[in-house]
Symmetry: C2
Subunit: 362 residues, 2 copies
């Protein structure tokens, strides 16, 4: 009685192809990895046999000898954050174009998870892109010693970096607010561990000096809608007329929180966000925000990583800086637009408003 159970579907190997094509396994191997090294007719024959048998080269043993897996890792801080979608696409598409596969790792905003995942993955990838890493500089440098690493949205000495032009973005936002007649800007800070948070505040300080606009900082708050809402609460006691938020999520939380307590945006307060996420366009009023070229970021980081993997020197001294632009919507308006109309929170808490802490503190 014939055995109808299908064969164990053993994987087809170069040995199978070699037998069928009547050549040695090494020739089969070369037919794929170094076609110039074998007679073109032989190569063609081998390719046809391989096709017929359904052979595909197995990347595992290949990696064993070449120590190249053609896989790169992309580590992002928080997959929940829509900001990373563009980055992932950019990185993945450039990698795919060079026939590299991308492994995505979500660090879940935790430096511990991030380290563990990288340690587990490192040996199987040719390089790593760290997008908004939460790890320490020294930890990053340690990984960079073992594998090519490109850091995104952050500047780490001795490691190649890709960043967006935060100073320019902040500057444009400040100019925009200044043109609208604002002479105070409050920066609503995001996580202190976040590198962009630091540079945005410093850039604002600098822009404030040059443009003769007073600045101050409140926070840090969580970089989420809730964080923005909490910031709005805090602003009751320390009113502002112009706000630069660490990111769009927080800006949206601010709009919400302020609107809820009777403050009109942009009538009473102008708000500028960062990132130009989809939500910035959905919220009412539309959020004026600094747009970053996410796709280009991911793409640039991946491309740079790939050249490093191919043996390029990598660190070029200065980080690669990508341009940003200000997208003006409806959350910003001229300061005196409602001149004469008492501001709700001043009405609500005249005592507190009168005893404001001096601006440009911190």
């Amino acid at each position: 009685m014939p055995d109808h159970t299908r064969p164990p579907e053993k994987r087809v190997t170069i040995y199978d192809v070699a037998v069928e094509a009547d050549v040695s396994p090494s020739t089969v191997s070369r037919a794929f990895s170094r076609p110039s090294r074998v007679n073109s007719e032989t190569a063609e024959r081998i390719r046809q046999v391989a096709e017929r048998l359904g052979y595909r080269t197995n990347p595992l043993p290949r990696a064993l000898t070449t120590s190249r897996t053609r896989v790169i890792a992309l580590v992002i801080a928080d997959i929940t954050n829509p900001v990373y979608a563009g980055i992932v696409r950019g990185a993945q598409e450039t990698a795919m174009h060079d026939e590299y596969t991308t492994v995505l790792i979500d660090a879940q905003e935790s430096d511990r998870v991030e380290r563990a995942a990288i340690e587990r993955t490192m040996s199987t990838v040719d390089g790593i892109v760290l997008a908004s890493s939460r790890m320490s500089d020294s930890a990053i440098r340690m990984f960079a010693k073992q594998r090519p690493v490109v850091v995104l949205n952050r500047s780490v000495a001795d490691v190649p970096c890709v960043v967006t032009d935060n100073p320019r973005g902040v500057r444009r936002a400040a100019e925009h607010l200044g043109e609208l007649g604002h002479d105070h800007i409050t920066y609503v800070a995001g996580p202190q561990a976040s590198w962009p948070n630091g540079i945005r505040w410093r850039s604002l300080l600098e822009a404030g000096m040059e443009l003769e606009i007073k600045v101050r900082q409140i926070g840090p708050f969580s970089p989420t809608i809730e964080g923005g809402e909490r910031a709005a609460e805090e602003l009751r006691a320390r009113p502002a007329t112009a706000i630069l938020a660490f990111n769009d999520q927080m800006a949206i939380g601010l709009i919400r929180g302020l609107t809820r307590i009777g403050v009109d945006v942009p009538g009473d307060v102008s708000i500028v966000g960062f990132d130009n996420t989809l939500a910035a366009d959905i919220v009412t009023p539309g959020l004026t925000t600094v747009a970053a070229p996410f796709y280009a970021e991911g793409s640039a980081a991946a491309r740079h990583l790939l050249t490093m993997i191919e043996g390029a020197p990598g660190h070029t001294g200065r980080p690669m800086v990508l341009p940003v632009r200000l997208v003006v919507r409806h959350s910003t308006a001229a300061r005196d637009r409602k001149a004469g109309r008492p501001r709700p929170w001043v009405r609500q808490r005249p005592a507190l408003a009168a005893s404001l802490p001096p601006l440009s503190e911190q």
Copy 2:
């Protein structure tokens, strides 16, 4: 003169550890993979030496003999869609818990990209989760023959599936609209290739029968905000009072498009979306929508896949169904709330409105 260039940082292997611990390589291997098989003191010594030398077992050669990589692939249709964030997290966390790594593949809404990426990755993973695959059933079954596969958000015969309770979600939405006095519901369709799109429409047909609500369908449209805006255009000619949109993005586009042409939501039209993405809470008015348990979906799919990898039978006949719930916000209201007020589009285009196609067509 001593050579100060650091050594080539050769990877530490079991052989290095073996020499240092004065045992054979096989013993080192067993000390890690089968500790019970070696004397506990020896094992401890080996572990200490390994620690000192910085040895980590290399998953590549291990996979070569065990044919287990402890990596699973998660294929999603479009990383731009926030819906997948929760799924990815759920899958990744469950996998990580069992010490599996997750490789994320973005199919970019293209069945071609999807196939190519899977073919490239398949041999290096132990199993695959297909979330909202755009491939044909037969293509999916083909892959399922070669590796354990779990399909998410779709039902494919002979392949284990995890789906959300679309019929119940649609039913709840229809009941909600019915209770508000609506007796017509227009379904604004998403991509025809999308499985949930089909089942949502069929569920609405069924719910309409039972609840005595008339239904019709327009579309298909792209499952994006723009798609919703285009649908709004089309609705000018074929007005509706209650709309169920394929997803939140389209619902938001509808709100926008309708508002722009002077239709009040929810005064003139009630709109219900699908997914309960973050944006549903941000848009004005807040979107009533059917919430799906994304995290649980990803987690369930991954868990199921892992048990299959461990040798469990896998296909259990019927798909695993996860519960949904209706989140009521402000985009739905009683139909006669503004009774007596002429509806703007009827005013605008009386002729067209009068010659409406019969409802429950299609």
